[in-house]
């Protein structure tokens, strides 16, 4: 939805984007397997972060439930991966997460601000501990094996999920619902008073974002081939998307993607080069970004762009 004056800053043209996608699609043909494996991890975080931003970006409701949705997808994979075909169990993973998110969303109707944040975290952790306990007590196991899928297939599935998530994010943002979501983030009460069905919109958007996280969890589980609650519901999957989205900047669609890419690659480099210091460096970078780049990379890029125009 463009306003009366069209200002759409797009550093990337549509053509460039298309070329880039072709490049990504053909990568497995000429790139080292290690790189594909790395890209799988990068894609995982990109999708989770982008999905997170679909809901939490405009509404300003910071969800820490991403780990729950991701993990549920992973467990769906483990439980029915042997029985259903790949596309089916990936979709089911997404669907189950979607339904879970609808349920959680309806529960948290009245919670706002910090209460919403800690509630989503609490739910995520509750699910993790509950499954840990249940598996030990009733299934007599800690973790589960997942049907194995080769790296290249995982790569293509991730690419497809990424494209779907990106298209969804783009369309929501450009639609009247995207505008409505932003108004909810500004003044939820006022939004309700001009006829916006705040509850329904929030819940469905939350569920849509969960769908992609679930699908990603389902496919990543096949890459790991073994999951347990600690792996699938790792709280890092809840915290990192928030960091990455804010680092990248939530003002534009490319912000979370940029943030996730850079931070994941950075983490990879730091873990390999400085295995004993990488958390320390990560923490310092994080605090530096919070202190000096409040609008993330997007903010920085836009500021530089403005300065360039003036000069």
């Amino acid at each position: 939805m463009d306003s009366a004056r069209v200002i759409y800053k797009r550093p990337f043209s549509l053509g460039m984007l298309f070329l880039f996608l072709i490049l990504l699609a053909t990568m497995p043909l000429y790139v080292q397997p290690y790189f594909i494996i790395l890209l799988n991890t990068v894609f995982m975080y990109i999708i989770i972060t982008l999905s997170w931003a679909i809901f939490s970006g405009p509404t300003r409701y910071i969800s820490l439930a991403s780990a729950a949705f991701f993990g549920v997808g992973a467990y769906v994979s483990a439980v029915i991966g042997q029985v259903l075909s790949l596309p089916l169990f990936i979709a089911t993973g997404g669907l189950v997460s979607f339904i879970l998110a609808l349920f959680i969303g309806l529960l948290t109707l009245r919670l706002k601000g910090i209460y919403f944040i800690i509630f989503t975290f609490g739910v995520s952790e509750l699910i993790r501990h509950f499954i840990l306990w249940w598996e030990a007590k009733f299934a007599g196991t800690v973790g589960r094996w997942v049907v194995a899928v080769d790296h290249t297939t995982v790569y293509y599935v991730m690419l497809i999920i990424f494209i779907l998530a990106l298209l969804t994010a783009y369309h929501i943002r450009r639609s009247k619902f995207g505008l409505a979501l932003r108004s909810i983030g500004e003044h939820e009460e006022a939004a309700a008073h001009i006829g916006i069905s705040v509850t329904i919109l929030k819940t469905i958007t939350f569920a849509i974002s969960a769908f992609f996280m679930g699908a990603t969890g389902a496919i990543m589980a096949t890459r790991w081939t073994y999951i347990d609650p600690g792996i699938a519901f790792n709280p890092l999957f809840s915290f990192m998307p928030v960091l990455m989205a804010i680092f990248g900047g939530i003002g534009q669609l490319y912000g979370p993607i940029l943030g996730a890419t850079i931070l994941t690659l950075l983490e990879e480099v730091l873990i390999t080069e400085f295995p004993y210091y990488y958390m320390l460096l990560f923490g310092i970078i994080l605090i530096a970004v919070i202190l000096f780049l409040p609008n993330g990379l997007v903010g920085l890029i836009e500021k530089l762009g403005k300065r360039g125009n003036k000069g």
């Binding site: 509750l126 958390m279 320390l280 923490g283």
Partner: protein, 289 residues
Amino acid sequence: MFVTVLDVIIGGLISGGIYALIAVGLSLQYGVGRVLNVSHGEFIMIGAFATWSLYTVFGISPLISLVICGPIFFILGFVINRAIFEYLRSKSESIDAFAASSLLASFGLLFIIQNVALIIWKADLRGYSYLDSSVSILGAVFTANRLIALLFAVVISLSFYIFLTRTRLGKAIRAAAEDPVTAQVMGVNIHRVLAICFGLGALMAGLAGVLISMMYEMRPTMGLEYTIIAIIVVVLGGLGSITGSLVGGFILGFIGTIVTYIDPGLSLIAYYVIFILMLLVKPTGIFGK
């Protein structure tokens, strides 16, 4: 039967005392400063490890460490607040923006502090034995260090409660935590109170860490679990009610001990269920408005 009940009561008091301390620390930082400090548990962990080092390397008794660590942690909290959170506060356009950025900054602190601990002390489980002779109370058996830790936890909690309710500074802190705007109107110097609260919060964490080190083994990754328990207690007692955190800590401690008796794997689950129910039914907590 009686022995079991006694076991649970004293066990509940021990857990409760520790929970009360860590929750009060977090509550001081959140209640007045509105900073949800997720690195709170890391301060607890450092407190525990510092005590370990002081004891195993210099032979300093943990009880002395309480006195050493207190002021040091207070200063640490004070400085960190000044360097990071006050700066963020001045730069944030809204309360929600500050809540988000301070949350993330405290994550950064978490990473940094935990990594520093890993570098210094490595990842192994550590512990020391201090006053671990057995004491029998009416048939129930406890190690002396637990009883001493309980004693100190209760003493610190009580002293702090008296401080909060009887002294001017204490009352100012409570007022600021409940309603910062009104408190300021009534003459409370918010900035000074805020800085002190942050320091006190870190101090509580440090002291809790010392006491924990007397009773349990420790590893550098132990912090997060304590942070989570602190958050649960603070919500239970009421975000913004310092005394609520004190009481809530003991309540949760008792519940935890009872549940552990039934099925140890369920205690954390029980905490989370209470947490979630609280948020759904009365988010302002037992003592909140």
